[in-house]
C-alpha cells in the first residue's frame, strides 16, 4: 500500500488509514461492478428468457447473487471503510488496529465470494430474502462484523475529543445491532414453518434499516458539515432521531407480510410503527437539509455535495414511500408487484449508494491527496441519477398496472404482457446505472492507486463537529 502517496504530511498512521480506506473502497467498487453486471443480465432476461440458459446462469440463482453481492459485497464493505475513516478523524486519534481492519476486509470478501459460489452451485439456505447464503458463510460474515465492532469501539475509546461525535453513534450502533441481527437469523430453533416467516419479516427489514441506514446516516452527519464547513444544524435533533429510529424501526418488519397468515396484530403493529417512522425520517432529513440551507447553489460546483444531496432526498422520499406502502389499502394493489423492486432500488440506490459515493468523493481525496477529474465526476453523477430515475419510475408505473390487472381479475398472463415495456425501460435505466459504475471505478482508481487529477494540499482533517 506504499504507493498511496499522502500528499505532504505523511505521518505513518495517516498513510495506514489512507491505505485501509483505499482498500475498502476499491474492494467495494469491484463488488459493485460485479453485482450490477449481474443485475443487467437479470434485467435482460425479463425480455429474453432464453438468453444465457443452463443451471449456473438461470434467473433464480443469479437473482440472490445480485442482491447479496450488492448488500454484503459492495455496500457493507464501502460503509465499513468509511466508518473507520470517520471514526479516526472525528475522534482525532489513530485507528485502533490497522491489522484488524485488514482482517475484517478479508473476512467480508471471503464471505461474499463463498456465498456467491454457493448460490451459483445451488446451495441456498432457502430463498429467504438477503439471507440465502448457507449458514457457515454467514458465520464468516458475522466474524467480519465482530472484528469491525471491536476495532471501531476501541478506536472511539481512544479518542482525543471530549464528546463522541454523532456519526460514531450511528456507525458503532449499526455494527453492534447487526451482529445481533445476524445471530437471530442463523439460530434455527424458532424457525419452523410460520415461525420462520416471522423471522424473515424481522430479518429482511432490520438487515436493511439497522445496518445500511445508520451507517449511511453516519456518513451524512460527518461529510455534510465537512463539505460545507459549518456544523450540523441541530445536534439534539440528530440524537433524537437516533433513539427514535432505534425504537421504532425494529418493530415494523412484518409489514413485508401483510395479508399473510402471520397474526393480524403483528401486521397491524408493523403498520402503526411504519407511520411512527416518519418521526426519525423527517427529523433526520430536515436536519440535513437545514444544514445545507442557503447553500444549495453550491451543488453545481461540488459533486460530492450533490451526491449527498441526492442521498438525502432518496432517504426522505424512499422512507416516506415505505410508510405509505405499509397501508393495507395500498398494499392490496402494490404488494408482490414490481413496485416493491422500485422501492428497494429507491432506498438502497437512491439513498444508501448515493450516500456512499458522496462519502467516498468527500473523504477519499483528503485521505490520499488525489482528486478525481471533474468530467469523471459529472459523468458518474448524471448517468447514475438519470438511470436510477428511469429505473424507479418505470417499475413504479409498471408495478401499479400489474397490481390493477390483478384487481380487475384479468387472466394472469395479461400482467406479464403489460409489464414488457416497463421491463425494457428498467433495462435502459439499469444500463445507464452500470455505465456510471464504470466511471466510478475509473474515478476510484485515480483517487487511490492511479494518478490523481490534481494533488490537494494536505488538509487538517477535522470536521466541525465540536462546534455543535
Amino acid at each position: 500500500m506504499q504507493q498511496i502517496a499522502t500528499a505532504g504530511a505523511a505521518k505513518p498512521e495517516d498513510r495506514a488509514l489512507a491505505g485501509v480506506l483505499s482498500a475498502y473502497v476499491v474492494s467495494a467498487t469491484a463488488w459493485l461492478l460485479f453485482a450490477t453486471f449481474i443485475g443487467v443480465v437479470l434485467a435482460y432476461k425479463f425480455g429474453a428468457p432464453d438468453f444465457a440458459p443452463g443451471p449456473y446462469l438461470t434467473f433464480g440463482r443469479l437473482r440472490p447473487i445480485h442482491t447479496n453481492a450488492t448488500f454484503y459485497g459492495f455496500a457493507s464493505i464501502a460503509l465499513v471503510g468509511l466508518a473507520y475513516y470517520v471514526a479516526v478523524r472525528s475522534c482525532r486519534t489513530a485507528l485502533y488496529s490497522v491489522r484488524l481492519a485488514w482482517t475484517g476486509l478479508w473476512l467480508f470478501n471471503i464471505a461474499a465470494v463463498a456465498g456467491t459460489v454457493a448460490l451459483d452451485l445451488g446451495f441456498s439456505a432457502g430463498d429467504l430474502e438477503y439471507r440465502e447464503w448457507p449458514w457457515p458463510v454467514r458465520l464468516v460474515f458475522l466474524a467480519a462484523l465482530m472484528v469491525t465492532a471491536w476495532n471501531l469501539l476501541f478506536t472511539v475509546a481512544r479518542r482525543n475529543t471530549h464528546d463522541i461525535y454523532l456519526s460514531n453513534w450511528y456507525t458503532m450502533g449499526g455494527v453492534l445491532w447487526t451482529c445481533i441481527i445476524a445471530i437471530v437469523a442463523i439460530l434455527p430453533w424458532y424457525q419452523y414453518g410460520l415461525g420462520q416467516v416471522a423471522v424473515s419479516g424481522y430479518y429482511m427489514h432490520n438487515a436493511v434499516g439497522m445496518w445500511f441506514t445508520p451507517l449511511a446516516l453516519g456518513i451524512f452527519y460527518y461529510a455534510l458539515p465537512k463539505l460545507l464547513s459549518r456544523p450540523i444544524y441541530s445536534y439534539a435533533l440528530g440524537v433524537f432521531a437516533f433513539w427514535t429510529n432505534l425504537v421504532f424501526y425494529p418493530i415494523i418488519g412484518a409489514h413485508h407480510f401483510l395479508f399473510s397468515p402471520l397474526p393480524w396484530w403483528l401486521q397491524t403493529t408493523a403498520i402503526v410503527f411504519s407511520v411512527a417512522m416518519l418521526v426519525p425520517v423527517l427529523g433526520g432529513s430536515a436536519n440535513f437539509l437545514l444544514t445545507m440551507r442557503g447553500r444549495f447553489g453550491e451543488l453545481h460546483h461540488s459533486y460530492p455535495l450533490f451526491f449527498i444531496f441526492i442521498g438525502v432526498v432518496g432517504y426522505l422520499v424512499g422512507s416516506t414511500q415505505g410508510t405509505v406502502e405499509a397501508f393495507r389499502s395500498l398494499q392490496a394493489v402494490w404488494h408482490l408487484t414490481n413496485f416493491t423492486v422500485g422501492h428497494s432500488h429507491l432506498t438502497m440506490y437512491g439513498f444508501v449508494t448515493f450516500a456512499i459515493w458522496g462519502g467516498v468523493y468527500a473523504l477519499l481525496p483528503v485521505a490520499t491527496g488525489k482528486q478525481p477529474g471533474q468530467l469523471g465526476l459529472a459523468l458518474h453523477f448524471w448517468m447514475a441519477v438519470v438511470g436510477s430515475f428511469i429505473y424507479v419510475i418505470s417499475l413504479s408505473i409498471g408495478g401499479t398496472i400489474q397490481g390493477l390487472d390483478w384487481v380487475r381479475g384479468l387472466p394472469f398472463i395479461q400482467s406479464v404482457v403489460d409489464m414488457q415495456p416497463f421491463y425494457i425501460w428498467r433495462g435502459i435505466g439499469g444500463v445507464l446505472m452500470f455505465l456510471s459504475h464504470l466511471v466510478f471505478a475509473w474515478n476510484v482508481w485515480r483517487m487511490t492507486y492511479g494518478r490523481g487529477a490534481a494533488a490537494l494540499p494536505p488538509v487538517p482533517a477535522f470536521a466541525d463537529e465540536e462546534a455543535a
Partner: protein, 322 residues
C-alpha cells in the same frame, strides 16, 4: 468511557430486547403452529423436489401465499397458519412475476403439461418469461421401458431423439403436485369477517346467468384452458387435442362438452388420437355461468358453430354427477 458505554452498550441492549420481542418470540410462538386438518409432511421424493425448487430460486417469481383478497381467489382459498407446518424453509415469496403456486397441484395436475412447461414454458405459453429448465431433462434416442417421452411441440423439441424427464424433473413434479390446499372448515367466514371485501369479479360473473358475454368467455378461456388448448384453439399435437373443428364442441347435444369441462377427460380417443395426458376437472373451480361462457366461446370461435348453452344446461349436467 461512560459515554461510550451508554451509547454503544445502551442502544445495543435496547436493540437486543426489541430483536427478542419482534423476531425471536414470534418465531418461537409461531413455530409451534399445529398442522391444519389434512396437512401432511412431504414424502422423500417431494422433499427432494422442494430442495430443487429452492436451489433454482423458483420463489423469486412465484409466491406461495394466498391473501384474503378478491384478486387472489383464482389461486385458492386464503392461506391459513396450519398450511405451513411442514414448509421449512418458508417459500412465501415477495414477488408474483408468475402465478401463485400454493394450489398448483390442484389447479394444473397434468404431468404432461408440467413437463412441457418446465422443458420450455414458451412451448405452451408463448408470452411466458419463465426460464427454461431443460437441463432437468435428457434427450435419448428411444424412451426406456415404462417412461413416456414428453410430447414437446416440434418448434421447441431437439432435432433428434425424444425428451424424457430425469430424476430431478420427476422430483420437482412430485413437489408441485404436493402443493394442494386442504379444505378448511369455516375458511370463508374467517376471511369475510377479517376483511373489507371489494366486489370480486368472479362473484359478479357467477350471478350473470342470462346471456353470453363474449369478452368474459374469452378471458375465462385464456385463464383456464389456453395453456393446453392454446389461444388458437388448435391444441398441441400429441399432447392436447384441438378444440377447433372438434366433434364434441360442434355437436348440438352439448352434454359431452359440458361433462368434459365439469369432470375432466381421461383416455378418450379423439379424432383417432390417444392422449396420454388428462384434462383436469373444473367443477370445483368454475361456476355454472362461467362454464357456460367458456363453452359458448369455444362453440363460436375458430370457425366452430355448436349450439350455445346456458348456465341452466350446465347445472343440469352437474346435477347428474359424474
Amino acid at each position: 468511557m461512560k459515554k461510550l458505554l451508554l451509547i454503544a452498550g445502551g442502544s445495543t441492549l435496547v436493540y437486543a430486547g426489541l430483536a427478542l420481542l419482534m423476531g425471536v418470540l414470534p418465531g418461537i410462538m409461531l413455530s409451534q403452529t399445529p398442522p391444519g386438518p389434512g396437512v401432511k409432511p412431504l414424502t422423500p421424493l417431494e422433499a427432494e423436489g422442494r430442495a430443487i425448487y429452492v436451489a433454482n430460486g423458483c420463489s423469486y417469481c412465484h409466491t406461495q401465499q394466498v391473501r384474503p383478497l378478491a384478486q387472489d381467489k383464482v389461486f385458492g382459498r386464503p392461506s391459513a397458519p396450519g398450511d405451513f407446518a411442514y414448509q421449512t424453509p418458508e417459500l412465501l415469496g415477495s414477488e408474483r412475476t408468475g402465478p401463485d403456486l400454493t394450489n398448483i397441484g390442484a389447479r394444473q395436475p397434468s404431468a404432461v403439461w408440467q413437463y412441457i412447461h418446465l422443458y420450455n414454458p414458451r412451448a405452451v405459453v408463448p408470452e411466458s418469461i419463465m426460464p427454461s429448465f431443460s437441463w432437468m431433462f435428457a434427450v435419448v434416442a428411444k424412451a426406456p421401458e415404462g417412461v413416456s417421452p414428453v410430447p414437446v411441440p416440434k418448434a421447441f423439441a431437439p432435432a433428434k431423439g425424444v425428451v424424457v424427464p430425469t430424476h430431478e424433473a420427476e422430483a420437482l413434479l412430485a413437489y408441485l403436485m404436493s402443493l394442494k390446499q386442504t379444505p378448511l372448515p369455516g375458511a370463508d367466514q374467517m376471511s369475510a369477517s377479517a376483511l373489507p371485501q371489494p366486489a370480486p369479479a368472479a362473484a359478479a360473473a357467477g350471478t350473470a346467468a342470462t346471456g353470453y358475454d363474449p369478452a368474459k368467455g374469452k378471458a375465462l378461456f385464456s385463464a383456464n384452458c389456453a395453456v393446453c388448448h392454446q389461444e388458437s384453439g388448435e391444441g398441441l399435437p400429441g399432447a392436447f387435442p384441438p378444440l377447433k373443428g372438434n366433434k364434441a364442441v360442434n355437436d348440438d347435444d352439448a352434454t359431452q362438452h359440458i361433462h368434459a369441462v365439469l369432470h375432466g377427460v381421461e383416455g378418450v380417443v379423439i379424432d383417432g388420437v390417444h392422449y396420454d395426458s388428462q384434462m383436469p376437472p373444473f367443477a370445483d373451480t368454475l361456476s355454472d355461468a362461467e362454464i357456460a361462457d367458456i363453452i359458448d366461446y369455444e362453440r363460436s370461435s375458430w370457425g366452430n358453430h355448436g349450439k350455445p348453452v346456458t348456465a341452466k344446461d350446465v347445472a343440469a349436467v352437474r346435477a347428474k354427477g359424474k
